[in-house]
């Protein structure tokens, strides 16, 4: 993967995940006239989650375009624009609505370079606010990253910190191929240190967020934070969990995960998407067929979303996806080989 190295000398400040994304888009709009933002209510409304915010005031409605409520067509316009020279960033208001645009993302954007034998390039970025926890029920709370991770031709990233949100979005923009970025709605307000200026976070590299020797927890998006909280609890009992932030669903950073499992011998995958055929299935399978298999001294475990649509009732909603105590219990049992 062709992502440039991260510049480490930049100044950092504390800003939120959504501000970090906005900052990345602002830098891109400033630097490259080919960059346009498209999406529903990203202009004067500032985006359903206020991610685009004031960008329309800074760059005008020609660069920050409110689309009609036409997800398939809108995504397709972005694909056609990318194919012919623009660098569109297309925001789905909720990732659930990408179900309307799978044809353009999967049948067109992902395959265009290949079908045309390398003669075309579709440098488009699709931004996907995803995940549950907002009380918005079954059609506004899904986590579809596994669908896109199954599609060759796409890259799929899932930042868990403001720094990565900015760095991965800029990497996505520099990438000549279509990139789908999953943003967790509950992370938008989370603050963190973010370097100033233009930098990129390489697509396809996981990050070790916490070192540990007893059990490896691979988590994505908001689950990284829940895993870290669980790890703190476990540390009190002397169990040291290594927490890996997946960051990229396609490609998956095999080496980092294998390296960790070699050390710990135990793997727990934590993800919000539906458990069956979710991201953890791939991680588990990847490790089970790798050289790390010999180092495993307990069955690989998965904690994923329930086999149910996301319910409206808040207690049910919480129960439908892994929470910190669930991770704690699962990691403890695994570390103690009670599985």
């Amino acid at each position: 993967m062709n992502a440039p190295a991260k510049q480490l000398d930049a100044d950092t400040r504390e800003i939120s995940y959504s501000e970090a994304i906005r900052e990345a888009m602002g830098l891109a709009l400033e630097r490259d006239e080919r960059v346009v933002l498209m999406g529903e209510d990203i202009g004067v409304y500032g985006g359903a989650f206020q991610v685009t915010g004031d960008l329309v005031e800074r760059f005008g409605t020609d660069r920050v375009m409110d689309t009609p409520i036409s997800e398939l067509g809108g995504a397709g316009v972005a694909v056609g624009a990318a194919l012919t020279g623009l660098r569109p960033i297309f925001e789905f208001q909720f990732s659930d609505f990408a179900a309307l645009a799978m044809e353009q993302i999967v049948n067109q954007a992902a395959k265009m370079r290949y079908m045309l034998g390398g003669e075309a390039s579709v440098p488009v970025v699709f931004r996907m606010p995803a995940g549950s926890g907002t009380g918005a029920a079954a059609q506004h709370s899904q986590s579809f990253e596994a669908w896109f991770g199954h599609v060759p031709g796409l890259k799929v990233v899932q930042p868990s910190t403001p720094e990565d949100a900015k760095g991965l979005l800029l990497a996505a923009l520099e990438d000549p191929d279509p990139v789908v970025m999953f943003e967790h709605k509950l992370l938008y307000k989370m603050k963190g240190h973010v370097p100033e200026g233009w930098y990129t976070t390489p697509i396809g590299k996981a990050a070790i967020r916490r070192d540990g020797k007893d059990v490896t927890i691979v988590a994505s998006a908001i689950m990284v934070h829940r895993a870290l909280a669980a790890a703190e609890k476990l540390a009190e009992e002397g169990i040291e969990a290594e927490v890996i932030d997946l960051r990229s669903v396609r490609p998956i950073d095999r080496d980092t995960i294998i390296g960790s499992v070699r050390k710990t011998g135990k793997l727990l995958c934590v993800y919000e998407g539906v458990r069956t055929l979710g991201v953890g299935a791939e991680i588990s399978a990847m490790i089970a067929e790798s050289e790390a298999f010999d180092y495993l001294d307990a069955p690989i475990q998965r904690l994923g979303g329930a086999e149910a649509p996301i319910p409206y009732n808040p207690d049910l909603e919480k129960a439908a996806v892994p929470q910190t105590p669930d991770i704690e219990v699962a990691a403890r049992r695994l570390a103690r080989r009670e599985v």
């Binding site: 009380g135 029920a137 329930a306 409206y312 808040p314």
Partner: protein, 333 residues
């Protein structure tokens, strides 16, 4: 009756039905105010989309329907639900996430439904209900039930591909469907002038060779007359119609709206055209009821809403162990 100059509703409905229509309009208004208030107090979570200001469109459109007839509704669907005969207490219970709710607390505002009364449900997906309503029309036609389906959708939804596909299929198969676009000028923040190539959504009926009508959606009689005619046409096997009710939502799009896309003046102008006041005045003018009877309707509606909130508060929380109940029929029990 042809040279009877009174409004359509007065001419066509008996006083009991007119009174009930007024009651339903108040019920919608008070229900939504009650829901809003409960939301502010933290009793309801998530988000909701209020239709305050659009009550005539919901109630008048459903005047010609029986429980056998179907409607599909939208994210802004409380009004449709009440118009189609739902009990507000079970709606509140749903909003409070309780087992007594219409969806047993699994759906909330965006999926409020009452299938037994023919309301196939609100929908979180803009345009999602359009083909579903056509499917209901297909069932009616194939099984010869005589039922019609009313499909509510917004001006924003008219730019979804589903709109095009649904209207075309209803037209070629001459299905008993009435498409009702509640044009409140905005899809979220985006005005129809910015989103839609035509001025009036009803102009698009031409593309499906079906009748198209633009009506004052805050005029109960105008809506009832136009929709009743479309229903009659549908029941007679003559196919679908597209009706556009021009109306306005007084509140923001949802709970997160900072209202930066409309002027106070515009909102005030529309608030002055309150569909409930207007209908109430009409009923009084034509002697259907008097002030004190109107006040009684209001009091009844208020009381029903208050009782509904109490009912919801004391409802049963779903058991966590029932998380996967209702995913499949096998797990229904």
């Amino acid at each position: 009756m042809t040279d009877d100059n009174r409004p359509f509703a007065i001419r066509n409905y008996d006083p009991a039905r007119l009174r009930d229509a007024l009651r339903k309009m108040y019920l919608i208004r008070f229900f939504e105010e009650g829901a809003e208030d409960s939301y502010m107090r933290g009793l309801i979570h998530g988000t909701m989309h209020l239709s305050i200001g659009q009550e005539a469109s919901a109630v008048a459109s459903c005047m010609g329907l029986t429980d056998e007839d179907k409607i599909t509704s939208t994210h802004r669907g409380h009004g449709h639900c009440i118009a189609k005969g739902a009990e507000v207490r079970r709606m509140f219970a749903e909003f409070f996430g309780k087992e007594e709710g219409y969806c047993h607390g699994r759906g909330g505002s965006m999926h409020i439904a009452d299938v037994t009364r023919g309301n196939l449900g609100a929908n979180g997906i803009v345009g999602g209900g359009l083909p579903i309503a056509v499917g209901a029309g297909l069932t009616a036609k194939r099984l010869n039930t005589g039922a019609v389906a009313i499909c509510f959708f917004g001006d924003g939804a008219n730019n979804e591909g589903a709109f095009h596909e649904a209207l075309n299929m209803a037209a070629i198969w001459k299905l008993p469907v009435v498409f009702i676009c509640e044009n409140n000028k905005y899809g979220m923040s985006t005005s129809t002038e910015r989103s839609t190539a035509v001025k009036n959504i009803a102009e698009r009926a031409v593309a499906y060779a079906m009748p198209g009508h633009t009506v004052d959606g805050n005029d109960f009689s105008a809506v009832a007359e136009t929709v009743e005619a479309a229903i009659a046409r549908a029941r007679a096997g003559e196919g679908p119609s597209l009706i556009e009710n021009l109306t306005y939502r007084w509140r923001g799009h949802s709970k997160s709206d900072r209202n930066r896309y409309r002027t106070k003046q515009e909102i005030d102008e529309w608030m002055a055209r309150d569909p409930i006041q207007r209908f109430r005045a009409e009923l009084i003018e034509h002697g259907v009821l008097d002030e004190s009877e109107a006040e009684k309707v209001i009091a009844e509606a208020r009381q029903e809403v208050e009782a509904g909130i109490e009912f919801a508060k004391s409802g049963t929380a779903p058991r966590i162990s029932d998380l996967a109940k209702y995913v499949y029929a096998e797990e229904n029990a």
